[in-house]
Each structure stands twice: as structure tokens, then as C-alpha cells.
């Protein structure tokens, strides 16, 4: 059986900026309170158009779980590693807090966690996925901006979305090949 390739596909046109995903992530993963401590975020993109014809998009984002992984490459102790499914994780016991991964990440997706005494980031909620559940941000979203699934399964929602809609990835010029896809 072909191994799974997990990914998240986002339809940001649906996003209400309710930030339920960010709250769910904090509670699910015991992310400490603080301005710099967050695994996911919702950016309010600049207003478009002219009054009264105004429009604003929101861009939820998080660790891109890059296939070409800048943070994993510079980690001196293999604390950052990739699972066979392509999920980028941190072994907190191996992290020496050199912060090379933070400087290497083009998405600013990592931060120092005083709770773990290590650098932490989005894990695609692997503890939930292994129980057959979806990541907290995916499950909690009232309008299903995010879909989570296996790219190697042609019938998964992520595969169907990517085969039926054009999409983009963040910072393609970095050649990181993210596992987050934004359908247009």
C-alpha cells in the first residue's frame, strides 16, 4: 500500500476571520499565551478596491510542512524530522534551542516554547490524526476553510479539490514545495 502524503488545502475565500482555528490550536496543543507563541495565524490582507466598493481577504496559515525542508536541514541534532507521511515534527528532547530552524524558516512558523523548553510548531495534530481524527483547526472551522487528507488517495477531499481547482503555494521561489495549498 502506498504511504500517505498528508496535506492541507485551504479555500480562503470562505474565511470569516473568526479565529476559531487559532483558539482551537492553542487549546488542543497547550500553546502558551503570548504575542510570539502561536502555531497558526490568520492574516488580514490589505483592503482592495475603493470606497464604497471594498474587499478584504484573510489568509490563514501555519507551518507549510515543506517537502524540501529548510528547518530540518539545518537542525544539528535531528530534533526536527519528517515522518514517512511528510509531516515535519520536533523531538523536544533533542532540541538544543540553537534556533537555526527559526532563522531558516521562510514562513516564520516556529517559536520558542517555554512549556516544552524547545522550538515548537504545527504538527498537523498528529496525535489526533493517529486516532482517525482531523487536526483541531480543520475540525473547528465553521465554514471548512481547511481540508486535511492524503494526497496519495485520489478520492480524498484534498486530492479532489486540487484536481478541480487552480491553486497556489506560499513563496514558491523558495523551492520548499509546501504541503499547504491555497485554492483560488
Amino acid at each position: 500500500m502506498e504511504k500517505k502524503r498528508y496535506a492541507i488545502v485551504l479555500d480562503t475565500k470562505k474565511c470569516l476571520n473568526c479565529k476559531a482555528c487559532t483558539v482551537a490550536c492553542k487549546f488542543e496543543n497547550y500553546v502558551p499565551v503570548g504575542d510570539d507563541t502561536y502555531r497558526i495565524w490568520v492574516t488580514e490582507l490589505p483592503l482592495q478596491g475603493k470606497f464604497p466598493h471594498l474587499h478584504q481577504d484573510f489568509q490563514p496559515s501555519q507551518c507549510q510542512h515543506c517537502e524540501n525542508t529548510p528547518c530540518e536541514k539545518v537542525c544539528p541534532t535531528k530534533a526536527t524530522f519528517k515522518t514517512p507521511e511528510g509531516v515535519v515534527l520536533v523531538d523536544y528532547e533533542k532540541c538544543i534551542l540553537c534556533k537555526a530552524c527559526m532563522t531558516a524558516c521562510p514562513y516564520d512558523a516556529r517559536f520558542v516554547s517555554e512549556h516544552h523548553e524547545a522550538v515548537e510548531k504545527c504538527t498537523f495534530c498528529m496525535h489526533r490524526v493517529s486516532e482517525g481524527r482531523e487536526p483541531a483547526c480543520v475540525e473547528t472551522c465553521p465554514v471548512r476553510v481547511r481540508e486535511f487528507g492524503d494526497l496519495n488517495d485520489p478520492n480524498s477531499r484534498v486530492s479532489r479539490l486540487l484536481s478541480s481547482r487552480p491553486y497556489m503555494q506560499l513563496k514558491p521561489e523558495k523551492n520548499t514545495r509546501p504541503r499547504l495549498f491555497y485554492v483560488l
Binding site: 529548510p70 514562513y107 516564520d108 520558542v112 523548553e117
Partner: protein
């Protein structure tokens, strides 16, 4: 037994002529301040004491680490020239070169030790779980070997039974090679960061090696002027002349490299590299760049060296002092400028706060205290050695 004691006595004496006491005292005060900083980090935690942030994770401590370790490998380079490559004028400086290189490297290690959240974890994980494709692993390996080589060199040079010059030559050569590898790899530690194009390319590995050699020469010129109260004896004049020429050559290469680095980062405005260079030219680091880097590290010392014609040792000592101050700004700017362009725009909700589109960083009092720890350790240990050891080597 008595021969052994006599041999040891041949290494030690109280050098009352060397003005070491003020430096030892200053070093001690700085060390105490540094140790208070260490206590703060232990009891309050890195995050509470340091000013680095999620977006600018490397700050003053990494800059000071780079400043010290690169200067140390520059000294080892000059020592290697003397020991192994027939530059006999440097042979008479060998004791001070090796001792300085060793102590300056130790001072650098205080900075990285206090920067890392888990320094002891690093020591065993480098053996148990090394990731050989990560440049930081090689940084640890090369600088660790460099410290061991310099330690061995110290033992050989300060052997009471006499120096084994052949072994010293081999160790000097190894220190030169490993030092160049360590410093150029340090450039790659930054060059390997996908997110930071400012650090990419051959510029930094080359610049760090060349500026390290200039730093080593500058420190030697300054130290000899201090030790001999700006009246360096005739026997060292040839060595000082050569150090002045070497420093002048290295500064000239640095000007050449810097000019093209800045120009290539401006031309066609390659996004993040352009933003980083703008922080230097007219952004938040402009004073550091124009006064610290350009004036104090490049223009002024080169002008002083030209005026002195590499003969007036006092003037060269002054050039060494201005260069060493300027070089600190250069290291700081190098580390910080590359991190100021944000990875995400500072829009509402992004969690990123920018000023004029750039991240911001100011070292905290705790970081300055750790800086004092390194500087204090250097001043205290080195001038203690000057006070009590015989450091004028026999030429060989």
C-alpha cells in the same frame, strides 16, 4: 624534582613592567557583571532575559560569538604562517599568538554556551544524534578541534623542558587549516538559511576568513603596544611591520568584497537581500554601518596603516584598536541585518509587528551582561597571563 621546579620557574615570573593590573581589574569587574547575567539566565530563563524574538532569533550573543571565534581563527592563521610556512618574523610572537587564540576562543564559547537553550544537551547529542548535513554540526566539530589543537600548542610551547618546534609547526599548520575551515563553515551556517538570501553566496565565508585574519593582526598590534607601553622593542619591529601589511591587505580585500556585496544586493533590488542592505545603508543600522563598519573597520585603520607606512608601531596599534571596535559593529550588523526583513508582512492578525516594513531588535541588558562575560574572561585571563608568564618566545 628541583630541575622540574627550575623548569617551571623558567616559564613564570612577575612581569612588573607590563601594565596588566588595570586590565585584570577591568576584566574582573566585567566577569562579575557577566556572572550576574548568567545567574539571571539560570533563574529567569533565556526568554525573559534576552531581547531576541521569534522573528529575530539571533542577536548580540551570536554576533559576539562570531566576533571572538573568527578573531581566534585569524590569530591561529597568523600563528600557522609563522610556524609552518616560513614567515619567521611571526615566530617570535608565537607564545602570545597561541595564548591569545586560545583565550579568545574560550571567550567565544561563553557566548554560544549562554545563547543555546540546552548547551549540555548539544555535547552528547553531537555524538549520539549528529545531523551531518547541518552546518552547525561542523561548526561544533571544527571549533572543538580548533580548541583542542590550540590547547596542545599551548602545552608544546610552554613545555618547561623546551619547545618541540617540529611538533609546534605541525600543530600550527593544523590550527591554520582547521581555523579556515571553521570560519568559512561559519559563513555557511548563515548561508544555509533558506529564508535569508542576504547570507547566501560566497561573500560571507570569504569575508569572515579575511576579516578574521585582519582581526588577529589588529589584536596583536594592539596587545604588543599595550604590553610594551607603546614602545615595542626593536626585536619585534619586523613582525609588527608584517602584521601591519597583512592587516592592510586584508582590509583592502574586505573593502573590495563589501563594495560588490552591497552593489549586487542593490542592483535590480533582489527582495530580502535588498531590504537587508537598505537597513545598513539608510535603515535602522545605518549608524553602525557608516560609523562602525565603514569608518572604524575599513577607512580609518587603512588610512592609519597607510600613514604609518607599516613602520610606526604606535599608529598601527591605534589602527588595530579602531579596527577591533569597528569589527564588532561589522559582526553585529552581519547577524542582525539579515534577519530584519520580515518573513511575513506585518498585517493585522499576522502576529508580526514591523516598523517601516522591517523587524526590530535591540539587545537587552541581560545580553550585554553576557557580552561582558566574554570580554571580561578575555581581559582577565589574558592579562593575568601577561602578568605571570614569560610570553616572549624564542625565534626558531
Amino acid at each position: 624534582m628541583s630541575t622540574r621546579i627550575d623548569n617551571l620557574r623558567s616559564l613564570i615570573r612577575v612581569n612588573r613592567d607590563v601594565p596588566a593590573i588595570p586590565f585584570i581589574a577591568a576584566g574582573f569587574v566585567l566577569l562579575v557583571l557577566g556572572l550576574i547575567g548568567v545567574a539571571r539566565v539560570i533563574f529567569e530563563g533565556h526568554e525573559a532575559v534576552y531581547g531576541v524574538t521569534r522573528q529575530v532569533p539571533w542577536g548580540l550573543l551570536i554576533a559576539t560569538y562570531a566576533y571572538f571565534v573568527i578573531t581566534s581563527t585569524g590569530l591561529a592563521f597568523i600563528g600557522g604562517l609563522g610556524h609552518a610556512f616560513g614567515f619567521h618574523q611571526f615566530a617570535g610572537l608565537s607564545k602570545r599568538i597561541v595564548l591569545l587564540a586560545f583565550i579568545v576562543l574560550l571567550a567565544g564559547f561563553t557566548q554560544i554556551g549562554m545563547e543555546l537553550g540546552h548547551p549540555f544537551r548539544l555535547m552528547y547529542l553531537l555524538i549520539l544524534s549528529p545531523h551531518f548535513s547541518a552546518p552547525i554540526v561542523w561548526m561544533g566539530i571544527f571549533y572543538g578541534i580548533e580548541l583542542a589543537i590550540l590547547g596542545l600548542e599551548l602545552l608544546v610551547i610552554f613545555n618547561p623542558a623546551g619547545t618541540n618546534h617540529k611538533l609546534a609547526a605541525i600543530l600550527g599548520f593544523l590550527a591554520l587549516v582547521v581555523g579556515v575551515l571553521a570560519t568559512s563553515n561559519l559563513g555557511f551556517v548563515f548561508g544555509s538559511l533558506t529564508a535569508r538570501p542576504f547570507f547566501h553566496g560566497i561573500y560571507f565565508p570569504t569575508f569572515l576568513v579575511v576579516s578574521g585574519i585582519a582581526g588577529g593582526a589588529a589584536l596583536l598590534l594592539l596587545v604588543y603596544n599595550i604590553v610594551y607601553k607603546f614602545n615595542v622593542p626593536e626585536q619585534f619591529k619586523e613582525a609588527m611591520n608584517s602584521l601591519g601589511k597583512l592587516m592592510g591587505l586584508c582590509i583592502s580585500i574586505m573593502i573590495f568584497l563589501s563594495f560588490w556585496k552591497v552593489l549586487s544586493s542593490l542592483y535590480t533590488e533582489p527582495q530580502e537581500a535588498y531590504d537587508a542592505v537598505i537597513t545598513l545603508l539608510r535603515g535602522p543600522l545605518y549608524a553602525n554601518f557608516w560609523i562602525g563598519e565603514v569608518l572604524m573597520a575599513l577607512v580609518l585603520p587603512l588610512a592609519l596603516l597607510i600613514v604609518s607606512k607599516a613602520r610606526e608601531i604606535k599608529t598601527m596599534g591605534l589602527a588595530g584598536l579602531t579596527f577591533l571596535i569597528g569589527m564588532f559593529f561589522t559582526r553585529y550588523d552581519f547577524i542582525v541585518a539579515g534577519q530584519l526583513p520580515p518573513m511575513r508582512a506585518g498585517n493585522e492578525g499576522s502576529g508580526v509587528e514591523t516598523i517601516n516594513g522591517l523587524m526590530h531588535y535591540t539587545p537587552s541588558s541581560g545580553e550585554w551582561m553576557i557580552f561582558f562575560l566574554g570580554l571580561g574572561l578575555f581581559l582577565f585571563l589574558y592579562f593575568l597571563s601577561e602578568r605571570f608568564l614569560i610570553l616572549d618566545a624564542d625565534a626558531h
